[in-house]
């Protein structure tokens, strides 16, 4: 096995444990999309074109609430701003790649692949084929995501609406925050952002409450981190 394949398969292996929570996430997405009236084809197109769980679910949430295209786009952009951080962290390891590979690697830069490849890159700084680790991990996520989307589409047409599965949307995002409930600044930011969104839902025009609340939350984080030493 050459070095590229070795990295590639290592990426698949390393991301595999992280795929367990992706399975229900993908299924929930497929079920909700069908529940909210999207066609199966549109649903699959979303998973292939966007390929990002949080972006896709916030898209559904705002789309079903009748938000404008601009608000949906800017909210998706805001959810995705964490990728800027990933790119920043990884860029030093990927700066030698040509443009085509940078494009390919970027498409696969999802949370789980970032988490494991960042560690792998740090440990294998000199290996010039190390980026195949990220492609393997990303492709693993991609495959699981598409399969579970399709399972969700199928289940969405048989699960009764009475179950209120749209409640899975806030629960999914809640689950992504569990590590932050133990940190003081995060808890304040969470409460501020949540309150602004809830109280502003009727008042803030164009359903822009997500963006407005996120910026207020970040501003609070900006202020608080200035005064409170972060415990590491």
């Amino acid at each position: 096995m050459n070095n590229k394949s070795k990295n590639f398969f290592k990426g698949i292996k390393d991301t595999s444990p992280l795929m367990i929570p992706v399975v229900p996430f993908g299924i929930i997405f497929g079920v909700l999309a069908i529940d909210l009236g999207l066609t199966p084809l549109t649903t699959i197109a979303m998973s292939v074109i966007i390929f990002g769980g949080a972006s896709q679910i916030i898209f559904l949430q705002l789309f079903s609430a009748g938000a404008s295209s601009f608000v949906i786009l800017s909210s998706v952009g805001a959810v995705n701003s964490r990728h800027l951080l990933y790119g920043t962290v990884l860029s030093e390891h990927l700066s030698d790649l040509n443009l085509t590979w940078k494009i390919i690697v970027s498409y696969f830069l999802v949370d789980q692949a970032f988490a494991v490849s960042n560690n792998h890159f740090k440990k294998n700084k000199k290996d010039k084929d190390k980026y195949f680790h990220l492609i393997g991990g990303g492709l693993n996520c991609w495959t699981i995501w598409q399969i579970t989307t399709i399972i969700g589409i199928y289940l969405g047409s048989i699960i009764p609406e009475k179950l209120g599965l749209t409640f899975a949307i806030p629960l999914t995002f809640l689950a992504l925050l569990v590590n932050d409930f133990r940190k003081f600044i995060n808890v304040i930011v969470i409460i501020v952002s949540g309150s602004v969104a809830t109280l502003g839902y009727q008042i803030i025009p164009y359903k822009a409450y997500v963006i407005v609340a996120a910026f207020v939350g970040l501003f609070v984080a900006f202020i608080l981190t200035k005064f409170v030493k972060k415990k590491l």
Binding site: I20, P21, P24, T42, A45, M46, I49, I50, F51, A54, S55, I58, F59, S69, L73, V79, N80, S81, R82, L84, G87, T88, L90, L94, S95, K102, I103, V105, S106, L163, G164, L165, F167, A168, P170, L171, F173, L174, A175, L176, L177, V178, N179, N186, V189, I190, S193, G194, V196, A197, T198, Y201, Q202, Y209, V210, A213, A214, G217, L218, A221
Partner: protein, 104 residues
Amino acid sequence: MSNLALIIYCGLITFLTRFSMIALLKKEMFNDRIREVLSYVPSAIFPAIIFPAIFLNNSGFIQLDDNPKILASIIAMIIGVFSKNVLATIFSGLFSYWTIIFIF
């Protein structure tokens, strides 16, 4: 804008946030301060989706009485904080919700 066009634009935005730093960044363009604030992005944006979905009713008004989502979310949060497990959080919330609406 058609649904497909909107999806393509959302895909482009998602891609560009992943691509821009890898493509453009010369190391250390972001200082530690910006990085620190950016690390709060999830805490700043996810509650804006979570809270309204729990506290608002279908007409968009705040509903605190007779709202099973509140108790179910609190249970999910407690399970989540102690288990640190994504699945346990989602399913404890869903099962509490179903228990409240179907049994009580």
